[in-house]
């Protein structure tokens, strides 16, 4: 790792101010992606601004069906929240299957969505839950937030402070983890609510997480795994690497979607 300067922010405003003073700063929360990336020298920020101690960015609040999760909330906290499990168990299950127990103790929801790794689990849920991403500057709909692979609508100094959504009637997430890395090769989050069905897909798309609108329409009129039988995902939009061809991933998306529907 190249040398860097560590700064611990006590508030969101202080963090933004520190970023303004840095030459090439990066925010770090759990650091479960950024620290390994820096160790590989694939990233070399001159300043690291630590968001992990900002109290305002932590915690889960559930009021009726309205859910708000602070960006600094760890995967373990989301997985273990009984308040959240009572209205939206699908997101608890998703969080409980990210990485491993030690990673879940550090990694945060804000970090996961801000990084927008094409294999990250949370982006699929944010799309399917029609979530709003709150930052220190504005509110962004999930669909506008995820722009492309490792790319979001965030400006350089902008900080995700929370996510919020209305809990759907039912939801579930199903993923096929790569047997070695355990990252999703395809992960599908299906949410069924008053406004219909939404399907978010991660791990497979060339441009990162996306909504599978054909599946949403099919499930809207017949909410059963069989309703997806006649559909296919365009392999031309899928990632292809040594772990699997585009056609393989396209098929996996469908299989994971069917499993998620069957689990609801």
């Amino acid at each position: 790792m190249y040398e860097t300067h560590y700064h611990r922010a006590g508030s969101v405003d202080e963090a933004a101010k520190l970023m303004g003073e840095a030459e090439s700063g990066k925010y770090v929360a759990g650091g479960q992606t950024l620290i390994p990336t820096m160790k590989q020298r694939l990233a070399a920020p001159d300043s690291l601004i630590d968001l992990r101690h900002i109290a305002d960015m932590k915690g889960i609040s559930v009021s009726g069906k309205d859910v708000r999760i602070g960006a600094g909330t760890t995967h373990a906290e989301v997985a273990g929240s009984s308040d959240l499990a009572s209205v939206c168990p699908g997101i608890c299950s998703l969080a409980g299957h990210i990485g491993d127990p030690h990673v879940r103790h550090m990694g945060t929801i804000g970090g996961s969505i801000s990084n927008n790794d094409p294999a990250a689990d949370y982006p699929a849920a944010m799309l399917a839950l029609n979530a709003t991403i709150h930052t220190n500057k504005r509110e962004i709909a999930a669909e506008e937030f995820f722009v492309g692979m490792f790319e979001t609508a965030l400006e350089e100094d902008e900080i995700v402070t929370a996510v919020s959504f209305t809990a759907p009637d039912k939801c579930a997430y199903s993923k096929f983890p790569n047997p070695a890395s355990r990252y999703a090769m395809a992960g599908v989050f299906v949410a069924k609510g008053g406004d219909g069905v939404r399907v978010g897909v991660t791990g497979a798309g060339m441009d990162g997480a996306f909504r599978w609108s054909e599946a949403e329409a099919a499930l809207g009129s017949d909410f059963s795994a069989g309703a997806l039988d006649g559909l296919s995902v365009d392999a031309g939009d899928m990632l292809e690497d040594l772990h699997g061809s585009a056609e393989y991933r396209a098929n996996l998306v469908k299989v994971m979607a069917k499993r998620a529907v069957a689990a609801i």
Partner: protein, 163 residues
Amino acid sequence: MSKVEMTVNGRAVSGEVEDRTLLVQFLRENLNLTGTHVGCDTSQCGACVVHVDGKAVKSCTMLAAQASGSTVTTIEGLASGGELHPVQAAFKEHHGLQCGFCTPGMIMAATDMIERHGGKLDEKTVRAELEGNICRCTGYHNIVKAILAAAEEMSGAAKVAAE
């Protein structure tokens, strides 16, 4: 350079380190606590697991500066007064190791796991919870056996204490 201060195994420690210093480096090189191992150095193997503020984390994936102000427990802090921690004793009893390199991380992961699940651990859960700890010798069977035995003993001890 930054000054880091933390409590490690009950002892207040401090040091002046480069900001890029990993927690595991600080533990091993500054404090000479070499029980915490660096296996893969890529956040996968779990040989470096320690507890930070009571939670198992990978000390190769956290800066010492990030841990400043925290309470850290390493494998050296588990035994008390020359008596092995029940998880350490169970690994010995059930031969939950061969070369031993992964053992410190396994034991720190196991104690965290038992604490979170209490007496409700079963084999399937233990195997799933070991996702972040790699052992290349044992095939995991004796590790799982040792963790289940320790969990049972610790929940029995907790019941006796409560009665």
